[in-house]
Symmetry: C2
Subunit: 121 residues, 2 copies
Amino acid sequence: MPVGINIGEKFASFAEHWRPKVVAELNGQEVKIVKVQGEFPWHHHDDGDEFFLVWKGEFRVEFRDHIVSLRPGECVVVRRGVEHRTCADEEAQVLLFEPKGVVNTGNVRDQTFTAPNGSQA
Amino acid sequence: MPVGINIGEKFASFAEHWRPKVVAELNGQEVKIVKVQGEFPWHHHDDGDEFFLVWKGEFRVEFRDHIVSLRPGECVVVRRGVEHRTCADEEAQVLLFEPKGVVNTGNVRDQTFTAPNGSQA
């Protein structure tokens, strides 16, 4: 039976940074939430586009040739194959739409930042 | 070049009810926004799940056997094949994530409510 999901409560349920949590799955895609602070490694995703929507705080998606700075209620699409990194000077909360099973660091494996897949919030 | 999209500005760019506008496309899916007020026809979608996230106002997704009432920051997934209708007593703003090309009234064609596809915000 479909139930409502409160995104704020889901964000309140964990504290770690750079560990996306799945809040919903549909059509082979996942809706995830993540808390971020600092600088993520440069990477790209070969097989999927990513959608970032800022929930709280200030968040940047940096490309090699420009930076997209986002505030709450602002979003951006990063196309497959495009190198990028995500950054936040202070903690930010971000909602993601992307294909199920995407590795957060894409083509890179990083001991600190590569997160397990499929964690639920 | 990827650019930031301000969802609030996109909502401010139109006034009609029940006419979803595309704000982003990724992985064969679309992120859409819609203003709603009143009761939508009962329908289902054969080929895709739908994700509803309330942006502003109060919004209900009604199923034949229960109702999911949502406030801003709350969301629900409606699985393919499941009959439902959406309702709002006063105007509400809703963000959708669903496969590209979905007809808003699903299996039903309705002179008032069936909306053209692919309108941009």
